[in-house]
Symmetry: C2
Amino acid sequence: MKSEKYHIILDAAIKVFAEHGYFQSTVAQIARKAGVADGTIYLYFENKEDILLQFFSYKTRQIFDQFQKEVDKVDSAEDKLRNLVRSHLKEFQGNMDMAIVFQAETRQIQQAEAIKTHIRDISRKYRELVGEIVEEGQREGCMRKDLYIGLVKTYITGAVEEVINSWVQAGGKYDLVSMADPLVDLYLKGIGIQTV
Amino acid sequence: MKSEKYHIILDAAIKVFAEHGYFQSTVAQIARKAGVADGTIYLYFENKEDILLQFFSYKTRQIFDQFQKEVDKVDSAEDKLRNLVRSHLKEFQGNMDMAIVFQAETRQIQQAEAIKTHIRDISRKYRELVGEIVEEGQREGCMRKDLYIGLVKTYITGAVEEVINSWVQAGGKYDLVSMADPLVDLYLKGIGIQTV
DNA sequence: ACCTGGAATGAATGAGTATTCATACCTAAC
DNA sequence: GTTAGGTATGAATACTCATTCATTCCAGGT
């Protein structure tokens, strides 16, 4: 089990990163927010970069397990998709600082190699999860067979992330979770009028 | 008309920003790539931040006008949506460095005020354009009336951007424009089987 | 040939900041 | 009361880089 101070520093760092962005945040600011001396940070983390790395490797794993758990709770593909989207929005609504750091640092193509690896890994797992749900939906007969799965993964991921991004840009002022059902409705039915 | 060197420096800067990210890029690197001395940069730009600002205010306006032009070329809402998505993918495919800078810097909530204003402005205009197309589609009778327009804007924007992001992450190795029609197909019909 | 003014240079400046480490502070055991 | 080991401190170090500006370059006019 990690020491208490490890978590205090990590939480403080996420707040500072969320406020100023990783590259503009200073170790001194993190130390101050955590209520420790600058040097203390280095007893728990290799360096500044390691703090961001720990965030990605620790928090994302935790969150992804939560997604998986929610998906496994139900049987139909539609319910799985619904639970995935709802838990995604719920987790991010519950931790806006984390959401901001995710939004910003995930799109930086030029992160340190170790961090890039984690980001790619979590993104791949998320896309795989979506892929499995859609394939299950096809077997169940509730989802179209003529889909380019690779594009569907992108389409679903992109829309949820932008819903979160809009919420962040608006300062987190409205309820994010209530977007889940309308969004899944769009995923399934689209915006066009069906002429079957 | 802006001097030739202005454009040389701006183009070099976008390349450097794309490669290293704004905050990790140095003025010396930009000067080197542009083939000028460090001090020369300051004859054409206020400071480092101004370079990014000029990029957003100059390039984005140019690109957005292109989107608008493509949309106005056709009459039906469906074709407008199709042209918007296609020209969006086309412009970004044609300038990958720009695409990377967009992906990365647009999500940074902690940019300088002037830059944030430009980002918000372009994002608002894009969303408005999508909104108008959808409302026209509703009047035409080819799009559902029971849509929460705000969410639809987010949904459409997010999916295109993630399609671009995936392409960037993959190193721009495949044809982006060919994603346009399948994507619009998803927008209109969704992934579910219609039980009208 | 000689000016002249705008353009360009790049070394010097100075501010900022990640990281280190000699020192101080505990706490608990004896 | 003393000591030992782990923990914490924060001033000092050793950079990196944006920005400045005294100097140089150069083209076109006289």
